[in-house]
C-alpha cells in the first residue's frame, strides 16, 4: 500500500496517552499485547488518529481504549456495537474500532454482535477473549472452557463453550479471524486486514487472565498460559477447503487461527446511501 508506514519505525508511544500510565491492568494480562498489535496495524495503515473512534464496553477490555490517543468512548456493558452503529452511520468519515470482551460481546451483548455481523456496517470489532469476567472477580463467561474453575463454577464449569468466530461467520460477518497474543506480528497482520476490510470485521484475540483465571486453574504465569494457548492453535489452512470454519457453534478443543472468513458483501452504509439516492431520484422524477 502506498500510504502505509514501514514496520520498523513503529513507536507505540506515538499512539498512547502517556499521562494515563501506569495502566491498571494486572501483571501478565494479555490485553496490552492485543492493544500493541492493534496500534501497530493502525500505524501500518497510516490512519489519522483524529479520525479513529474507539468504542468499548464494560470489563477489562473496555478500559484499554482510555490509553489510546484517539477519540475514545467507553460505553455501557454489552452495548459498544450499538453505540458504534450509530456513530459509524452518523459519521462515515470516522474509522470505528470496537474493543469488547467475551462477556461483553457474547453474553450481555450477544444480540448486538449477531446483528452487527448481519448488517455489515464498516467497523472492526476486536474481541479480547480471556475466558472469564476478570473485572468483577473471575466469574464464568460463555467462553470459559468446560471443567474450568471460576468463582461461579467452583466445582468446574459444566456449560458448553461458544466459538465466537463460528458464531460471527454464521451470522454473516464478512471478515472473521482469530489469533493468539503470542503471535503478535500475525495478530497485527490480521488486525490490519480487518481494519482495511470494507464491512464488518470481527477478530477474536485469545488473551490470558493470569490473576483471576490462571491462578484458580493452576495454569501458571503468563508465559505458560500463552504458550499453552499457542499449542492448541492450528493455522486456518487446516480448516475446510473453502476457508470457512466449522458449522458447529461450540468450540473445538483445538482452534484454527488467521483469517477464517473473508467475503465481499455490500457494506451497509454504502447500501443505505445508494438507497437514499435512489429514493430521492424517484421522488424528483415524480
Amino acid at each position: 500500500m502506498d500510504s502505509s508506514n514501514s514496520a520498523d519505525s513503529f513507536n507505540i508511544r506515538d499512539y498512547l496517552r502517556l499521562e494515563m500510565f501506569p495502566h491498571f491492568l494486572c501483571p501478565g494480562c494479555g490485553h496490552g499485547i492485543a492493544m500493541r498489535a492493534l496500534l501497530w496495524a493502525v500505524y501500518e495503515l497510516d490512519i489519522d488518529k483524529d479520525k479513529i473512534a474507539i468504542v468499548s464496553g464494560i470489563g477489562c477490555s473496555g478500559r484499554i481504549g482510555a490509553y489510546v490517543d484517539a477519540n475514545t468512548f467507553h460505553t455501557t456493558h454489552g452495548r459498544p456495537l450499538a453505540y458504534a452503529t450509530g456513530l459509524a452511520l452518523a459519521r462515515p468519515d470516522l474509522h470505528v474500532i470496537v474493543i469488547t470482551g467475551d462477556g461483553d460481546s457474547l453474553a450481555i451483548g450477544g444480540n448486538h454482535l449477531i446483528h452487527a455481523c448481519r448488517r455489515n456496517l464498516n467497523m472492526t470489532c476486536m474481541m479480547l477473549n480471556n475466558e472469564v469476567y476478570g473485572m468483577t472477580g473471575g466469574q464464568a463467561s460463555p467462553t470459559t472452557s468446560e471443567t474450568r474453575y471460576t468463582t461461579t463454577s467452583q466445582s468446574g464449569s459444566i456449560e458448553p463453550v461458544f466459538d465466537a468466530c463460528a458464531l460471527a461467520s454464521a451470522a454473516g460477518a464478512s471478515f472473521v479471524g482469530r489469533e493468539v497474543t503470542v503471535h503478535t506480528p500475525n495478530l497485527k497482520d490480521l488486525l490490519r486486514d480487518a481494519l482495511d476490510h470494507n464491512g464488518f470485521s470481527f477478530v477474536e484475540v485469545l488473551s490470558d487472565c493470569t490473576e483471576v483465571f490462571g491462578r484458580k486453574n493452576n495454569l501458571g504465569e503468563s508465559p505458560e498460559m500463552i504458550l499453552s494457548q499457542k499449542s492448541k492453535m492450528r493455522p486456518s489452512s487446516y480448516g475446510s477447503a473453502n476457508g470457512n470454519i466449522v458449522d458447529e457453534p461450540f468450540r473445538p478443543t483445538t482452534l484454527p487461527t488467521g483469517i477464517l472468513t473473508h467475503k465481499e458483501r455490500a457494506e451497509y452504509g454504502d447500501t443505505y446511501r445508494a438507497h437514499v439516492e435512489k429514493i430521492s431520484g424517484s421522488v424528483k422524477n415524480g
Partner: protein, 380 residues
C-alpha cells in the same frame, strides 16, 4: 389562509416526527412498539429525504445506544418508544445523562405494568421518566397536551438537549399519539434552532468537562482534533475516570447546578384562571385536555376553578405551582395512574391545601364530566 402546505391534519405521532425533522434531527434509531411505531415509520420516510439516517435496530437497548452513539458524533438524534421499551432504554439514557450527550427520547405512554395494555392510554411513566435510570442524574421531561404542541415541544426538546447537554424526554399518552388535529407548519427559516456548543478552543490542554461559567461544557466533535475520552464512569474535567471523592462530588454538583442555573431556559407551564381560583386542577397531557373542558363548564356555572399545567414536567415547576395555587383551598390532580404527579404536587403545596387525586387505571381516559362531578362533590 389555510392550505394543505401550511396546515396539516395529522396524528400526534406524525407531528412528533415532523417536529423532529423541523428541529434538525438527522438520526433516528428505533424498534417497533405500540403505540409509538408511527413515529419510527414516519422517520423512516422523512429522514432519507432530509440528509438523515434511519435505522431499525435489533432491540430497544440497541436503538438507545445507537442514538447516543450518533450524538457522540455530533449529530442531532432521537428515538421513540413506549412503556416496556422505555424501561429497556434506561441504562443508556443514564449514560447520556452522565456523559452529557444530547438526545431526545419520546415515550408514548400505554397501560402497564409490564406488557399491560399496548393500545390503551395511561400516564403511568411520570415517575419512570424522572427516576427510571439509576443514580442522581439530570433529565428534562416535556408533556405536550395537543397535536400542535407535540410538534412544537419536540422542536423545543431538541433545542434544550443541544443547549444544555441533558437528555430530553417527550412524554405523552396513546390518545394524543393517535389524535388527529391541525398543525401549522412553520415557514422555512422561521424557527429558532439551537445547536450544541462545539469546542473551538485550542486542542492543547482542552478539558471536555471544564467547569465553564454556564456549567455547560463545550462538545468536542470527533475528527476536530481533540481526541478526548468519554465514559459513563464518574470523571474529572479531563474526561478520564475518577473515584476521588472531591472530584466526584464536584462533577455531580456541576450537573445539578447546571439545571438550577438554567431554569428560565427549560421551565414552561400554563396557568389558566388561577388567580382567584378556590380549586386548581393540576394536570398534564390528555388529562389536562379534560380539565380544560371541565373548567369552562364550571366557570360558566360561577365556580372559581383554575388549571395549572406543567409543560416541562421535570424538573417540576414548583415555584409556578406555588404561585398558581396561592388562593386555592383545594388542588385536584386527575391522572391516568394510581397517583404519581400528586406526590410532587403535595410536596410543593401548603400543608393547609387539600390535595385530592382523581385516578383512572383501567385504560380509559378521564372525561371532562368526571372532573366536573368530582369538583362539585369537593365544593359541596
Amino acid at each position: 389562509m389555510q392550505s394543505k402546505d401550511t396546515h396539516k391534519d395529522i396524528q400526534g405521532n406524525h407531528a412528533c416526527a415532523l417536529g423532529a425533522i423541523a428541529a434538525g434531527c438527522k438520526f433516528f434509531a428505533g424498534y417497533p412498539i405500540t403505540p409509538s411505531s408511527e413515529i419510527a415509520e414516519r422517520m423512516s420516510v422523512e429522514l432519507p429525504k432530509n440528509e438523515g439516517t434511519f435505522i431499525q435496530m435489533e432491540d430497544e437497548i440497541a436503538s438507545m445506544g445507537a442514538v447516543v452513539g450518533a450524538s457522540m458524533g455530533g449529530i442531532k438524534s432521537m428515538t421513540a418508544t413506549s412503556g416496556p421499551g422505555f424501561s429497556l432504554k434506561q441504562e443508556n439514557l443514564g449514560y447520556a445523562s452522565g456523559a452529557e450527550i444530547p438526545c431526545v427520547v419520546v415515550n408514548v405512554m400505554r397501560g402497564g405494568p409490564s406488557t399491560g395494555m399496548p393500545t390503551r392510554p395511561a400516564q403511568g411513566d411520570i415517575m419512570q421518566a424522572r427516576w427510571g435510570t439509576h443514580g442522581d442524574h439530570e433529565i428534562i421531561v416535556l408533556t405536550p397536551d395537543s397535536v400542535p404542541e407535540i410538534f412544537s415541544e419536540t422542536i423545543r426538546a431538541f433545542n434544550l438537549t443541544e443547549e444544555l447537554r441533558v437528555p430530553v424526554i417527550v412524554l405523552y399518552d396513546e390518545v394524543l399519539g393517535h389524535l388527529v388535529e391541525t398543525v401549522e407548519m412553520p415557514k422555512e427559516g422561521s424557527l429558532d434552532l439551537k445547536t450544541r456548543k462545539f469546542a473551538q478552543s485550542p486542542a492543547e490542554d482542552f478539558l471536555p468537562y471544564k467547569e465553564t461559567d454556564d456549567m455547560v461544557p463545550e462538545f468536542p466533535r470527533p475528527g476536530d482534533g481533540y481526541r478526548t475520552h468519554t465514559t459513563g464512569l464518574t470523571h474529572q474535567e479531563n474526561g478520564f475516570p475518577t473515584q476521588d471523592p472531591k472530584q466526584v462530588d464536584r462533577m455531580i454538583k456541576r450537573m445539578s447546578g447546571k439545571m438550577d442555573m438554567h431554569k428560565d431556559v427549560y421551565e414552561s407551564w400554563e396557568a389558566l384562571e388561577c388567580d382567584d381560583a378556590d380549586i386548581v386542577i393540576c394536570a398534564i397531557g390528555i388529562s389536562a385536555r379534560a380539565a380544560r373542558g371541565a373548567l369552562k363548564s364550571l366557570r360558566a356555572q360561577g365556580q372559581k376553578v383554575g388549571l395549572f399545567r406543567p409543560i416541562t414536567l421535570w424538573p417540576f415547576p414548583e415555584d409556578a405551582l406555588k404561585a398558581a395555587t396561592k388562593s386555592a383551598k383545594t388542588v385536584l390532580v386527575p391522572e391516568l395512574n394510581a397517583g404519581q404527579m400528586i406526590l410532587e404536587v403535595e410536596r410543593h403545596c401548603d400543608a393547609s391545601t387539600n390535595v385530592v387525586g382523581l385516578n383512572r387505571i383501567d385504560g380509559e381516559h378521564i372525561e371532562p364530566a368526571e372532573i366536573e362531578e368530582k369538583i362539585k362533590e369537593l365544593v359541596k
